[in-house]
């Protein structure tokens, strides 16, 4: 390198390159845009109707998640397997080893979003723009995040979904952006859907995207664990941006549009370079090239991390695991509201696979799947749980498992779900069991006939069955004042100390009854003998019964008027926990009269030591 600084050439020379539009940066922009458009299509098309109409679509919609190397590496650490389509991540991983962090600059849809927002709303120019792209020590933070998460993964807790960019962008779009767009535009994307807590997920997305105005590609540089992984793997790459010091005249134009803040004007930081080629476009002298195995003394090969911080990050990962697990939120102290989709693996297995991408939540046709907040413990944040106030689990639907990229929800057939055909021995998959809250149930506690739950129960034979029960109506105790063969005249019981019955008035034919409710009168004779007869009709004071009294009611006997109607019960041997009863129960509010809990879930049956199932009776069908 020569010692004398060169004379600075005028830098402001621009070229209108009409014939040379086919440059690598143009290609990159088109690729980024296309990737984002594909991502948007994938997410928009992840609906039950579309997946049914186009059966091959299920292989596409979660594809970006499947090619994400962090997802496959982290799930390999937690489950010691590479699940099905995750093998595709080699398609990204192997080129990264040779080219560097091209994924961040070319393919990542979240990166494209940041890039676009930064470019459209950035507003900085010239030197200030270049300064914004300087490397800062805080960019090392993403490596600590990656390390902590990988250490957690080694112990079996998968938390990369929180900050992995693909999981995050999928979750944000499925959980808040598309639902928000849905609302006015129902006919394009589908029905108005609800996502509990979606506001926070959307706000988080907004925050990260808005931060691009402060530091361009803030998320990518500071937080992204996938970027950190790629950055670490860049150390082996055969090609990188190389600055020819002889040609360079130190004009500092190259960082102006640098995406990765990798300092091409100094020693290139391999681990930060997004291979975006913007620096090459900005260099007036052509000093920058994408060189093959350039000298190692012009680069910073490894990420710039402090050893002490690395240790802290590893320890954090180490400690968070027992902190989370000893809260027992997933084992003995499990929440009965944590009801998982059909085909889910057992809970701890689930937590070691679920990347919180939200695909299952989006594809669910009834909108019953929701991102969990407290239902699944701290490890289960944003994992799918069922909320039967919003929807129910459709009987013949197994869509959620079809789109799950990691196998947290297995790909099952409808036959396996319902226990038909070759699965008849095992019986159906039970999500949980329905229970009645008889203090709220209308027939049980309010003398109002209602068996909506029995009507809608979809199993065959129905798991909810009814029995007829008799209940005394309010003010139903009367006294007999007169009677004939088939009628009895009543009055209110006498006041204290008196013998004469009080007058009473019934609305005409109030006790005629109908298809659902029958009315009965129970006569209790003074000697204790009782007789019950069905009431066919009445006028103001007299009841007309069906048939004849076996023994004529004497004046002074008590007559109690009762209603008989159906009250429902659950046959736990048949209930599969689909939640249609809870969904349709007319007693709305925080607690419905019939509600489903996670007890008896069949996915836990081979994991007895996890203590999530208390009773065999809830779990297995007898005989």
């Amino acid at each position: 390198m020569s010692e004398t600084p060169k004379q600075r050439s005028p830098v402001t020379e621009f070229h209108e390159s009409h014939g040379n539009w086919l440059r690598i940066t143009t290609v990159r922009i088109i690729v980024q845009t296309t990737m984002f458009a594909l991502f948007l299509s994938f997410v928009a098309l992840t609906t039950f109707a579309k997946l049914d109409q186009y059966p091959t679509l299920r292989h596409w919609v979660s594809k970006i998640l499947e090619v994400d190397p962090l997802v496959s590496i982290a799930t390999a650490l937690t489950t010691h397997t590479i699940y099905k389509g995750l093998l595709w991540s080699l398609l990204i991983l192997i080129p990264t080893l040779f080219i560097g962090r091209f994924f961040c600059g070319w393919i990542c849809p979240y990166g494209a979003l940041h890039h676009f927002v930064g470019w459209a709303f950035g507003g900085l120019k010239g030197k200030r723009k270049a300064d914004a792209n300087r490397y800062r020590p805080m960019f090392a933070f993403k490596y600590y995040v990656l390390l902590a998460m990988l250490v957690l993964a080694i112990f079996g807790s998968l938390q990369i979904g929180l900050l992995d960019p693909i999981c995050l962008v999928y979750r944000s779009f499925t959980g808040s952006v598309l639902p928000a767009l849905n609302m006015p535009v129902q006919s394009i994307f589908g029905d108005y859907r609800l996502h509990q807590g979606g506001w926070f997920i959307g706000a988080l997305l907004f925050f990260f995207v808005a931060m691009n105005l402060v530091i361009p590609r803030f998320f990518c540089r500071v937080l992204c664990p996938l970027g950190a992984l790629m950055g670490f793997l860049s150390r082996f790459a055969w090609w990188r941006i190389e600055r020819n010091c002889d040609l360079c005249d130190y004009c500092n134009q190259c960082p102006t549009s640098c995406e990765g803040a990798c300092e091409p004007d100094k020693e290139l930081r391999r681990s930060e370079c997004f291979v975006c080629f913007n620096c090459i476009e900005d260099c007036p002298t052509g000093a920058l090239t994408f060189a093959f195995l350039p000298p190692k003394d012009h680069e910073v090969t490894s990420p710039d991390v402090r050893r002490r911080s690395v240790v802290v990050a590893a320890l954090a990962g180490l400690a968070l695991y027992p902190f989370a697990r000893s809260s027992a939120g997933s084992t003995r102290n499990f929440s009965a509201k944590c009801i998982r989709p059909p085909g889910s693996t057992e809970e701890l297995e689930f937590l070691s696979r679920c990347i919180k991408c939200g695909q299952c939540i989006r594809v669910c046709p009834t909108n019953v799947l929701q991102p969990a907040w407290s239902e699944a413990g701290v490890e289960g944040l944003w994992t799918p749980v069922m909320n039967f106030r919003i929807g129910h689990c459709q009987l013949h639907c197994t869509a959620c498992g079809q789109v799950c990229p990691t196998g947290a929800i297995q790909r099952i057939s409808v036959e396996e779900k319902l226990g038909l055909g070759e699965f008849a021995d095992r019986g159906p998959i039970k999500l949980g069991t329905a229970h009645f809250d008889t203090g709220r149930c209308l027939p049980y506690s309010k003398n109002i006939p209602c068996v909506v739950c029995e009507e809608v129960c979809p199993t065959s034979p129905k798991a909810i069955y009814t029995e007829r029960q008799m209940r005394t109506i309010r003010d139903g105790k009367k006294t007999v004042t007169a009677s004939t063969d088939s009628t009895v005249t009543l009055g209110d019981p006498p006041l204290a100390g008196q013998t004469l019955a009080q007058p009473t008035t019934f609305p005409p034919d109030r006790f005629r009854g109908d298809e659902t409710t029958l009315c009965y009168v129970l006569i209790r004779h003074p000697d204790g003998m009782t007789e019950t007869q069905r009431i066919l009709g009445n006028d103001a004071r007299t009841l007309r019964i069906e048939g004849r009294f076996a023994r004529a009611p004497e004046t002074g006997s008590t007559a109690t008027i009762k209603l008989e109607y159906k009250v429902p019960s659950v046959d736990t041997r048949l209930c599969i926990g689909c939640g249609l009863c809870e969904r349709e129960c007319p007693v709305v509010g925080d607690r419905r009269a019939v509600y489903v809990t996670a007890e008896g879930e069949s996915r836990s049956q081979y994991y007895g030591e996890r203590d999530r199932n208390r009773s065999l009776r809830l779990l297995k069908s007898e005989g």
Binding site: V11, S17, I24, T34, E415, P458, S460
Partner: protein, 350 residues
């Protein structure tokens, strides 16, 4: 070509290698996009929606998500009996789904119980699709009840009293655009999902065409001829296939209401295979009286075989004549029962 995104480049020279690489990347990208878009070019899979759809309005097409070897696949094997729609805009079902009594519930859930009570033999399901609007379909549920009695019985059970009759099959009505008819041993429901005015007419046409394919069994309505016409309440004939009056030995019984001396009575009639079978049911009825109540009267006129019994505070009069078993059900008092039973007995041709 103007610079993309109004960005001006400082680098003037773009080498051939870079251009070649660019072309290569474009080709790969185009291939990717083409592969993705290509799967939409063949159009949506209509048969999946047709087979899997449940109630109109529910999420359609479960079979695709169900994957291979799903229940619906098992049902598709079989001939497609559905005729052409007879209307330009409607396409006949490409495939028909066949259901047996064992798996009928998979299609119609709890309603299967009712059909099983009426001894359903098979059900065939298909969907007529509208040529241009995929939201409009006409579902056809074609039940084979095995016996004309059963088909009549279930038709009557489902028909509302004030239905608008239509001239399809032996009897039919249309409500809300949907057409229901019975012919021979078959009961067919034609259910459009679109607007009533236009699709109701199409449903009627389709129903007519299906009815043409069904044989009307000769003389399949014996009951209205045997039950006395005098005093019969209009539209009160009903058929119950099993557990009639909650008696497990009584099946395939027609009942009708009659005005009788100021009140109403219910007559019933059952036609057995032969005289012996009818006599056997009669014996069972007498046993039932003996066990749960008592026989309170036997017709002294031995040419008639009538008894009246009382059980659970209810008086029935029952007779057997040839292969017919009939009588009065749940009469108010013995005299009415006796008189009505005698009249009924006499009215039946030997």
């Amino acid at each position: 070509m103007p610079t993309l995104f109004a960005r001006r480049y400082r680098r003037a020279y773009v080498g051939p290698l870079e251009k070649a690489l660019g072309v290569l990347i474009f080709v790969a990208l185009a291939a990717l996009v083409a592969a993705f878009v290509g799967q939409f070019l063949t159009g949506p899979r209509p048969s999946a929606i047709a087979q899997g759809s449940m109630e109109p309005g529910e999420a359609a097409g479960v079979t695709a998500i169900a994957g291979k070897g799903s229940a619906a696949d098992a049902e598709t094997a079989g001939p497609n009996p559905f005729p052409d729609a007879g209307a330009a805009d409607w396409k006949a079902p490409a495939q028909a789904s066949h259901y047996t009594p064992d798996n009928l519930y998979m299609k119609i859930d709890g309603r299967a119980d009712l059909y099983l009570q009426y001894h359903v033999v098979a059900m065939t399901f298909g969907t007529y699709a509208h040529a241009s609007d995929p939201q409009r379909t006409i579902d056809v549920y074609w039940y084979d009840l095995g016996q004309p009695d059963n088909a009549q019985g279930i038709y009557r059970t489902e028909a509302p009293p004030d239905a608008t009759a239509v001239p399809v099959g032996r009897q039919g009505y249309q409500g809300g655009g949907a057409v229901f008819f019975v012919k021979g041993s078959h009961y067919v429901q034609v259910l459009p999902t679109g607007p009533d005015e236009s699709d109701g007419a199409a449903a009627l046409t389709i129903a007519g065409k299906i009815a043409q394919l069904i044989q009307d069994a000769a003389g399949d309505e014996w009951a209205p001829k045997v039950l006395p016409a005098k005093g019969r309440v209009e539209g009160s004939i009903e058929f119950a296939a099993s557990d009639v009056f909650d008696l497990d030995f009584l099946a395939n019984v027609y009942t009708a209401d009659y005005e009788h001396e100021g009140g109403r009575i219910k007559l019933f009639i059952h036609r057995a295979e032969n005289d012996a079978a009818a006599a056997a049911v009669f014996e069972k009825y007498k046993e039932f009286f003996g066990e749960f109540g008592k026989i309170i009267w036997t017709d002294p006129d031995t040419s008639r075989c009538i008894v009246a019994g009382e059980a659970s505070d209810v008086i029935d009069a029952v007779f057997v004549k040839g292969r017919y078993l009939g009588g009065v059900s749940a009469a108010d008092d013995l005299e009415t029962a006796k008189k009505a039973a005698r009249e009924f007995y006499d009215a039946i041709a030997p």
